[in-house]
Amino acid sequence: MMNLSPERRSVSQMPWLLLLATLLTTAVGIYNLASASRPPSAPMWTSQAAYFVVGCLVAAAVAWVDPKLLEKLAVPIYLANLAALVALKFFGHKAKGAESWFVIGPLRVQPAEFMKIGMLLMLAKYFHDDYRPQQPTYGFLRLIPPAVIALVPTALVLVQPDLGTALMMAFTTMTVLLFARPSLPVLLVLGVLALAGVGVLWNDYVRPQPTEERFTVIRHKLKKHQDARITGWLDPTSDLKGSNYHAMQSKIAVGSGGTEGKGWMQGTQTGLRYLPEQHTDFIFSVFAEEQGFLKCLGLLVLYAGILLGALWVAAGAKERFGAFVAVGVAAMIFWQVFENIGMVTGLLPITGITLPLMSYGGSSMVSVMIGIGLLVNVALKRQRSGLG
């Protein structure tokens, strides 16, 4: 191995599984988008293909950056993303009640999509820098800095409001923290907190209502549409014409796909626009309705390929920074997939979140491809090759 040329080594160290799964998923996504945006809608799959090309270029650039430089840049990137999120409050474009976009000429940029990456790099840098072989577990004090690193951008995203992305960021952070090996007391406290969360949910939503006014922990603080989503999630048959309409229509789309699916461009729920945001957040319902259960399993296998590919990269990383970046990217993709498909199939409340590589959107595509680029960067281990 030591005798191989850098080029040969690059080829052998390239995470082929990851790249193949990514390419296939993107291809499926573009094929599916062509149906989701059938006439009279604009044909979005061409733009999506263009975004993918841009994403590949960005990923290649990220992959070839010196990891040392990447590590040095973690703090500035993180701060720049925070600044962008703050600026969004003042210059952002409002759409569907949320300030999520910068409009720059013909482009609409979603800073939250890039914030995720900045946050991951920052977390990885922290866990790399703070590594103490004599003290392998993380106590409360050592977990405060990463908690702050994650909470600040998550809170900024939450107030946009973009609950879906914020939740995804919180879950990703939690995954990374757990991966960093917290101490037993921390685990116990987290377990208690999780139970308390379930308790609150039960108290606020599930428990039979004895009187009109009753004690709720968080319910009264939620916005009406958020409250309705949780209600709808826990009781799918409530308010089918109103707040639960989309959840129901999405389930109808998915369920009516059956084993074989209705066929490409044949989905009635899609064609007649019963699905909200069918080319972005609800893209999976289009796929499920038209392609059926078996191909849905295939898609899940492709995501499993991406995730396991990412973990393979993490396992091969020579230093903690790379491993944590890889785990972070994997966790981000996992939670996005889980949250999105979970919401489309009624397993989770509806929140705005895209399905990686399937949903239409440049920001989403480019941010996922940056993640892939980071994985390739880590995989190539160029810091050991002497090229850097």
Partner: protein
Amino acid sequence: MIKLGQKSDAKELRPRIVGLGVFFVAGLLVLAVNLYRLMVVRYEEFLALSVDNQFKDVRLRAPRGLIRDRRGEVLVDARPSLDVFITPAFCQKCTAEVLPRLAEVLGWDEAERARVEGLIKSAHGPQRYQPLIAAVDVSRDAFDQLLARQFLLPGVDLEPVPHRSYRAGPTLAHLVGYMNEITQDELSRLNGSAERPPYALGDYIGRRGVERSFEHEVRGTDGWDKHVVNARGEVMRDARGNVLKGAQQLLPQPGNNVVLSIDARLQAEAERAFPGTAGAVVAIETKTGFIRAMVSRPAFDPNEMTGRVSPKRLAQLNQDPLQPMIFRAGAEHYHPGSTFKVVTLLAALQQGIMTPTSQVSCGGGYTLGSRRWRCHNERGHGLVDAKRALQVSCDTYFYRAADLMGIEPIAQMGKAFGLGSVTNLGVAAEVPGVMPDSAYHNKATPGGYTKGMALNTAIGQGDTNVTPLQLAVLYSAIGNKGKVLQPQLVMRLESPDGKVTKTFDPKLVREIPMTDEQHQLLIDALVSVVNEPGGTAFRTRSAEYTVAGKTGTAQVAKLGQVRLKKEQMDYFERDHAWFASFAPAEDPELTVVVLNEHGGHGGSDAAPTAAAVFAKYFELKKADAFALGEDWVAPKPPKPVFVPKPAAPADVSEPALASDVPAPPESTVQAPTPAPTQVPR
């Protein structure tokens, strides 16, 4: 602290990487299991829901049945009305852009634009998805212009909608009726709790005449279709613009056709020949009661009344002193005047008060107590018998008869002929008229019944009031030897493909007992009115067939209650001209009653119309017989008439023939004329 670039302890991380991998795969498995539950286990349920989702029930309007005349000529059908609809929910920038564009093309004024805007703004909730009618009957040009600009008019639909078309306009308007929008009350009453309600808001429903009486026959049953709709309820079309439909549909059942006994050709002739400003012509089949033609003038246009009448125009129609909305043939009553004398005569004969030969001396009037009732011929008719009395319409003869028998036998006879009660034509509202008897007068007249009232009634004045339709029934009964028939307008109902579903038979109401001698006397007398010199309708006799008839000139007892302009006063004070007749006298087929309201004299202003109708009737009968290859039996011509000097039989108008022409107005009666002082001679 470990420096940058330091080798990490990968082995330390590996177990947790494996754990994470297991967690990820488990997460994806949860998703897969959930997908299995939805897509495989509950597949049928969701498939049904998705099918349910994409279809919307669309009502297919049943074509309304036609109204035809007896020969099949279409009187009422449907035409396309080019209508403009707006669906508020789909109408983006409605008030800012769409309405101004519509206003420009359709030439709306500000008020109309504001009306439509109000209409759109008043729709809330699910109503916003219902198309509203913005304009009806727009011109072909405007329709095409809008079609070409439809991409600029979101939420605007342009459609040719079937609209009821009354081909003959005002002709037969009162009988055929019209339609307009159903009310909320009717909706809840007619729909009940039906699963597929027969009526919807905005539907038209028959309002008068046949349209109303036969609503349930002509309406048909609406069908239903399933149209593919998107989530907003918009109907989807394929690339060629055809509406996408579901597999199942229920076809509409068209309504039945109504066949009237009207002969449109005879109707046209009656309309043409009737000279009056107002009045009625009733032509019914003597032996069956079926109506062949019926004029009620003035009339309204049902095309206008059917959803196209403005409130202003409606007010105008209702305030017109000539009252075009009133069905004069059956829903307005008039003094019958001398046409009533047949009733008095038959009553007198049956009472034995008079015999065919008993004579009354007419000196120009009749004295009862201290009052004198004048005959229309102030010089007197001399000795008159029953036949002569009818022929010259001698009032004195009937005064004498009434004096002898009182009012009851007259009233009884009148009622037996159907006076004082509605004829049950059915398709139109009627008034019963008034056949006064002593009980009536005791109740209605201050001071109660006195014999003078019998005298007035005997000559068709006083409180006696009849509708032209009642008079037609009465004269048919005379021609028919006492058989009183219910008049009918509808002959049969036909299914849309022309099969007869129901036939209406003549309905005998009652039979008035009458001896052959009495019957013959009445016929002879009525024939002499038309066919013998001195008869009041001698001028209108035909050489080809024998008409039996009686003129009447009814004094208008009360002036109209509407305040009138000066030039109208004269009109509304004039007498009503009547002519009631049937032909051929020996075997009557057609009864024609003409009322020329404020028209003048029966012989000159009503009888010619009847003559024209008879002429047309026999002409058509002959033509139809030839067309069908049937035998044509000409009616018996009347007995030749001896006319002293100019032998021309038809046009005898010279005043030299004193007895020939009804020069003196008959029955210019005024009950009661006060005073012995006025009595001449």
